[in-house]
């Protein structure tokens, strides 16, 4: 290859590298006064990992604690779409949502400052349905069976006692807590009856362990439970025998809110028709607003088809109460249906702030999660830590570079200068390769880069030592250089290939930061081979073309 072509190739590579690394205008979403706006900034197009710019890394898996999911891979695919839509609307500059392995979702949110909110938005199922409250007094009719089921629970635990010691212990504790709760409740009802006799909340039936905890509410299908009794009742409701005693076609749901009556806090419990009149799948839009009378609400719009169904169904249920159920919780008090409702409606959130309404509207728009997700891994890095890391790495890099330059020029003199020039080209090529493949720069990656500065000169050292040997054998400068490069080549290739193979394995099995390290290493290996074998060789050829063969080479 003639010198002209060599120089042309090197210059072309340098120009391409410079172009890849040239600061360019990119559109970013940045937070300004609490809201996200699109903004353009000029910066070097090197992608920084979460550990360098701060942010959150989340890994989600299907939550099977409430029942196994048959086709996890398919479920995760569908969940992925929902999570992606939600995150896109959440407003982070460059979010990443991707499937990992067979049943995981990875979410990366750079520069986020409220990790808790992000976790809530991602995990919320957002399954919306409208259900009519029961008006057949189904619960009252089923109470004897429910009481019997709860009693059965206690006695089952007791009869199980002789068989196993731990069960016996469990039974006694349940028993004693229940007694304590019953005592508490008995005291409470008398107080309530005295203070609040006008209210229509009488204890449904005396005696039964289930019915004791439940009081009639103000609308059909509504019941009040003392806040302190809620866990007990929820535990009862979770058992299969109590589940079996619930009237068929009905479902029991809790309110999302509590109400205070006198000195006590109550939580409402609703018995609803289990067939929803409509679900959130017909929802086309949702937006948050604040109204003076109802506080924060989310207004939603249904599709035309949904609107038709909704009108149809609501016209059949005039004067009934309709519960708006989100993720099995009844949102606010069920309103009465005064006439057929079309495509519009609203969800009342009560005293919650506008942010909560915004997030609810967001998840409603994105749709419901097909399966519940749980977080299996979360890493959150503050922005200051990343900035510190970058500063420290740059300092280490500059010092490493300085030391390497001193060693190389001190030992190899003029040839050392060529090697250092090669190192400058190497740095440029490596960074350009990282930018070109839009690899992510991480903290271990930066460390790997600093380390590679020390390692990259190895190829030069190998070549220089060979040239020296050839010179020792009394060969001419030109021949020595040629032979030196030729003889050093196998060793350089062997050692670099073996290092590249290890880096490739690291890339395959590493996670975020370590993957960044592997990428930097790979880019560095490629760049160092190109510079040592091709670029520095060209420098020598240039030097040879301007000096006579008799002149001693400074090496």
């Amino acid at each position: 290859m003639s010198l002209k072509y060599r120089i042309a190739i090197i210059l072309a590579l340098i120009a391409a590298s410079a172009w890849l690394l040239f600061p360019r205008t990119v559109t970013e979403r940045v937070k300004r006064n609490g809201i996200f706006v699109s903004d353009t900034v000029r910066r070097v197009p090197l992608k920084r990992g979460l550990d360098l710019q701060g942010g959150m890394h989340l890994e989600l898996a299907v939550d099977e604690s409430k029942g196994a999911i048959a086709d996890k891979s398919d479920a995760i695919e569908r969940a992925l779409k929902v999570v992606r839509t939600r995150i896109d609307q959440f407003g982070v500059s460059e979010p990443l949502v991707q499937k990992a392995g067979a049943d995981r979702i990875i979410v990366e949110l750079p520069g986020i400052d409220d990790p808790q909110r992000a976790m809530d938005v991602v995990q919320k199922s957002a399954f919306l349905q409208f259900e009519i409250t029961d008006k057949t007094n189904a619960l009252e009719k089923a109470l004897p069976r429910l009481d019997a089921a709860v009693k059965g629970l206690a006695s089952a635990a007791r009869t199980g006692a002789p068989g196993a010691a731990p069960t016996a212990a469990a039974a006694t504790t349940t028993d004693s807590t229940k007694n304590a709760l019953q005592g508490l409740f008995a005291k409470d009802t008398t107080k309530k009856a005295a203070s609040d006799s006008t209210k229509n909340d009488t204890t449904l039936a005396a005696g039964g362990p289930f019915s004791k905890l439940v009081q009639q509410g103000q609308m059909p299908g509504e019941y009040y439970v003392l806040q302190s009794d809620v866990p007990t009742l929820q535990r009862y409701l979770a058992t299969p025998s109590v589940q079996g005693a619930i009237p068929p076609g009905k479902v029991i749901r809790w309110s999302n809110d509590t109400t205070s009556l006198g000195a006590n806090t109550y939580r409402a419990m609703y018995v609803l028709d289990s067939r929803p009149i409509i679900t959130g799948e017909y929802l086309t839009d949702a937006k948050p607003t604040q109204t003076p009378t109802e506080g924060t609400v989310v207004e939603f719009t249904l599709s035309n088809e949904g609107g038709r169904r909704f009108r149809n169904e609501t016209s059949k249920h005039i004067n009934d109460f309709m519960a708006i159920v989100l993720d099995s919780l009844v949102m606010g008090r069920p309103p009465v249906i005064q006439g057929a409702i079309g495509t519009r409606g609203q969800i009342t959130l009560g005293g919650r702030d506008l942010q909560a309404a915004q997030d609810l509207a967001l998840v409603l728009r994105a749709g419901a999660l097909p399966v519940p997700l749980k977080i299996v891994d979360v890493v959150n890095i503050g922005p200051s830590l990343g900035a510190d890391s970058i500063r420290a790495s740059i300092r280490a890099g500059v010092i490493a570079l300085g030391l390497v330059v001193i060693i190389m020029i001190g030992y190899y003199r003029f040839s050392g200068v060529l090697a250092v020039a090669g190192l400058a080209v190497y740095t440029l090529y490596t960074l350009a390769a990282l930018a070109g493949f839009s690899a992510t720069l991480t903290l271990p990656g930066l460390a790997g880069f600093v380390l590679s500065i020390g390692m990259a000169v190895d190829a030069n050292v190998l070549i220089f030592e060979r040239i020296r040997e050839e010179l020792d054998h009394g060969k001419s400068t030109r021949l020595s250089i040629d032979e030196g490069f030729r003889h050093a080549l196998p060793a350089i290739v062997d050692s670099n290939v073996s290092a590249a193979l290890t880096a490739a394995v690291l890339y395959q099995f590493g996670t975020g930061p370590v993957r960044g390290f592997a990428v930097t290493l790979l880019a560095g290996i490629a760049a160092s081979m190109v510079t040592a074998i091709f670029v520095v060789r060209t420098f020598y050829i240039i030097w040879l073309s301007t000096h006579s063969d008799k002149k001693a080479l400074s090496i």
Partner: protein, 331 residues
């Protein structure tokens, strides 16, 4: 021309018994300690929660411990991290890890509120949180192990293709030795085994192999020249001929590693330690493990038409047969 260790004729291999004795002792201590005390895995591998905290006012580890104890976290590791106002707090007792099976964020969320109430939300900043469930921890541990074994297998295949099997096997044994010494070093230095440290270990693996390859490459080349000398002598010749290169490359790599160790901050420090030790053990194993093992294999399974293996031409002072011409500067 500035030259160091030029034209040396040290009899390196002569000391192989001493060298192997030393390294076996080192590995035995390290691995023994590992067997007794177990591996000090990082949160990534065990599951659990790590919080890096930065306080505005000077805070003692005791204060943090008291606050955590009150909140019901009894198994807490608190470490100063850089300045006296920065700490890392680790929660990885069995209770905490079990609590995270419902969701990795559970413990982290509770700790945040405990910190805010105990120290005031403006006084303490959580600069880093890592919450890993046990499932993910096990998975990462398995992946790290696979990565180490796979790089081994791949290098083996590469060496088998590139070198004759005797050389390949010797190189792999030398590299395996480095994995053991580095693991022993990590244990004796009380370094935490994290993903970054595993990455360091694999880099050491590559670096050490690189060094062995350079020497073996030279030996292979010298063997082709068909000198009438034993493999023992050829090996020594190869090591001596590559000595200047070894010194130079190790010097530049060590310079970069030292820069990382001193200036790149706490997170990178364990990696830098591993790398620094790796330079030492990699150099050592290329000479004292790869060499003797090659001789041993050659002795057992000699090549066809090969000369003697062990008998050396060295005289009464075999360590230094010719005085090396050190540091002669050229005009």
């Amino acid at each position: 021309m500035l030259r160091i260790f030029h034209n040396t004729k040290y009899d390196f291999i002569r000391w192989w018994r001493v060298a192997i004795g030393l390294t076996v002792a080192f590995i035995a201590i390290g691995v023994g300690s590992l067997a007794i005390k177990g591996v000090n895995y990082s949160i990534e591998f065990t599951g659990g929660t790590l919080k890096q905290l930065s306080f505005k006012t000077v805070t003692t580890p005791g204060q943090i411990r008291v606050a955590m104890d009150r909140a019901g976290f009894h198994d807490v590791e608190i470490q100063q991290f850089g300045s006296p106002r920065d700490f890392t707090v680790r929660f990885r007792g069995s209770e905490e890890v079990a609590a995270q099976s419902a969701g990795a964020e559970v413990v982290s969320k509770k700790v945040d509120s405990v910190l805010a109430t105990a120290f005031g939300p403006s006084n303490v900043t959580v600069v880093r949180t890592e919450a890993i469930s046990a499932t993910v921890g096990n998975e990462l541990r398995r992946n790290a192990l696979i990565a180490i074994l796979l790089s081994f297998a791949i290098t083996l295949v590469y060496l088998a293709i590139r070198f004759e099997w005797r050389f390949g096997l010797a190189a792999v044994i030398a590299t395996g030795h480095d994995v053991f010494t580095t693991v022993a070093f990590v244990k004796l230095m009380h370094l935490e085994v994290s993903l970054t440290v595993v990455a360091g270990l694999l880099t050491v693996l590559g670096y050490s192999l690189n060094d062995t390859i350079i020497i073996f490459d030279r030996v292979r080349e010298d063997l082709r020249k068909g000198r009438k000398e034993s493999l023992y002598d050829t090996l020594n010749r190869g090591i001596n001929e590559t000595l200047p290169r070894s010194i130079l490359t190790h010097a530049t790599t060590a310079a970069a590693t030292l820069a990382l160790l001193v200036f790149a901050g706490e997170v990178i420090r364990p990696f830098a330690w591993v790398m620094l030790f790796g330079i030492v053990t990699g150099t050592f194993s290329s000479v004292y493990i790869a060499g003797p093992v090659l001789l041993w294999i050659e002795n057992k399974y000699p090549r066809k038409n090969a000369g003697p293996v062990w008998n050396t031409s060295s005289t009464a002072t075999p360590t230094l047969r010719t005085k090396p011409s050190t540091a002669t500067a050229s005009p």
